[in-house]
């Protein structure tokens, strides 16, 4: 699991390393660290760290280790990895059609975010829609791909997806 934690450590030499060591002790993998020297509360400096740990048990061990070192945990929470994919639809359709398509798709997958941009060729009355979809997993992307392939085939719409 990917976790982000905001810690406050004493403004003394070795405290930053002292806050990161316990992560290694529970076989965690540090993804990123920001040492915010300008955020000082009660003579403590803010350290924001993102890391991967194997299980909740490891996370509990880690919290205990931090507490034993007098490191304050201001906030801690899971970070979700998301998958983003772009889709280009070309054909004779309206913006409301794309909106209803996305509504239907949301019954198949859970969107984290969806962004749509349009372009119209006046001469041919052809609409182009670029959909940028953010979902929680690769499986969701595959489900969404299947849904859009089928919908576009039914609607006679050219369907182009990202890699």
């Amino acid at each position: 699991m990917l976790v982000n934690a905001e810690l406050y450590v004493k403004d003394l030499p070795g405290q930053l390393v002292g806050s990161l060591e316990p992560i290694s002790m529970v076989n965690g993998n540090i993804v990123g660290v920001v040492h915010n020297r300008d955020i000082i509360v009660n003579q403590r400096i803010c350290v924001n760290v993102t890391f991967e740990v194997g299980s909740n048990d490891d996370l509990e061990k880690l919290k205990k280790a931090w507490k034993s070192r007098d490191i304050l945990i201001a906030s801690i929470g899971s970070v979700y990895k998301t998958c983003t994919m772009e889709y280009l639809l070309v054909g004779s359709f309206s913006a409301s059609y794309v909106e209803s398509l996305i509504d239907e798709a949301s019954n198949v997958v859970s969107f984290e975010s969806v962004d749509v941009n349009y372009s119209t060729a006046n001469a041919t009355n052809t609409m182009t829609a670029m959909i940028t979809a953010e979902v929680l997993s690769q499986e969701d992307l595959e489900k969404l791909d299947k849904f859009l392939v089928s919908a576009c085939r039914e609607g006679g719409i050219v369907y182009i997806r990202g890699l």
Partner: protein
């Protein structure tokens, strides 16, 4: 080594020129001469058991439009009348029936001859049968130039990457479509870009095979069968061409820092040719007539190759690499 060349168009002539250019190299490597004992075009043939001069064959073809003085109606009869060791089959592709190429390859393998081909039709339609024939008659059967021209991919996967678990291959497998889409990146509409491709000699007068994705689909089938060990044929490929790509679609993609490219994709479960959105700067987002392929492996990660997918000498270079492999195996 006695070679029979079936098909003396652009690629056949290119291979004859490459053999002439590499004559000393081949003599030094194998200690013997390589002889072309027969060359056939669509209607005529020239044959000589002592060997034909490759450059003279090319000169004759250029001057008269024919490779030989003798005419024929059945290529198999010509093949049966000649003593040869290796067939280089480079006759025009027939994607509907396999055409004369399929007949020639079948005949050579049935008679225990080694075969090199770049002819996609027989490979896309009858791959399993031809591989079976080659195994049964202990023949070597190689076809590197059939996918990606000079870009090494089949032998790369089957030899250099043989210990890898290849998860997928995605690539630009048709230079004509890539040229048209690259031109559309600059604002040209599809029809104009196609006309320019035809004027430049990249697209045929009838561009259907290229722009509808059929040519790339043949290559996808060859990769699926030869690298993934699948048993699929042309009709199994999910094909979408590039004819419906509009200038607006290309512009909208560009505004998101992307280009549209016709991508062939093969894996254990996928068999597809379709236009895809590619981030600018991605190895598969390249412009012009080049081919490119990204092979995703479990140990080495992604391996990307690029090269000229067509051309007289470029395709002949792929035939030469197959030829050297066969000669090395025989030594």
């Amino acid at each position: 080594m006695r070679i029979l060349i079936a098909g003396f168009g652009t690629v056949g002539q290119g291979f004859a020129e490459v053999l002439a250019a590499r004559k000393e190299f081949l003599r030094n490597r194998y200690g013997k001469d390589v002889r072309i004992v027969c060359a056939m075009d669509s209607k005529t043939f020239a044959a000589d058991p002592k060997g034909l001069d490759p450059l003279e064959l090319v000169a004759t073809k250029k001057a008269t439009g024919k490779v030989g003085k003798e005419t024929y109606t059945d290529s198999v009869k010509v093949m049966d009348s000649v003593e040869y060791d290796l067939l280089v089959e480079v006759s025009p592709t027939d994607i509907n029936t396999g055409g004369v190429g399929l007949k020639n390859i079948r005949n050579a393998l049935e008679h225990g001859k080694d075969v090199i081909t770049v002819n996609k039709g027989p490979l896309a339609l009858n791959f399993s049968e031809l591989i079976g024939l080659a195994k049964k008659n202990k023949c070597k059967f190689r076809f590197e130039g059939s996918v990606g021209g000079a870009m090494p991919i089949i032998n790369l996967c089957r030899e250099n990457l043989v210990g890898e678990n290849i998860k997928s291959i995605r690539g630009i497998l048709n230079g004509t479509c890539n040229y048209i889409l690259s031109k559309m990146d600059n604002g040209q509409p599809f029809e104009q870009a196609l006309k320019e491709a035809q004027q430049m000699g990249y697209a045929e007068t009838d561009p259907t095979s290229d722009v509808e994705g059929y040519d790339a689909a043949c290559k996808v089938v060859i990769l699926a069968n030869s690298i993934f060990g699948r048993n699929v044929t042309f009709s199994d490929v999910n094909i979408t061409g590039i004819r419906s790509i509009t200038a607006e679609a290309v512009a909208l993609a560009s505004s998101h820092n992307m280009v549209i490219r016709l991508i062939g994709e093969v894996s254990d479960t996928k068999l597809e040719v379709s236009p895809r959105l590619i981030p600018k700067g991605h190895p598969l987002g390249l412009s012009g007539t080049l081919n490119a392929a990204q092979i995703t492996t479990d140990l080495a990660g992604p391996v990307t190759v690029t090269g000229h997918g067509a051309g007289r000498i470029e395709t002949a270079s792929a035939i030469l690499s197959d030829f050297i492999s066969i000669m090395d195996d025989r030594d």
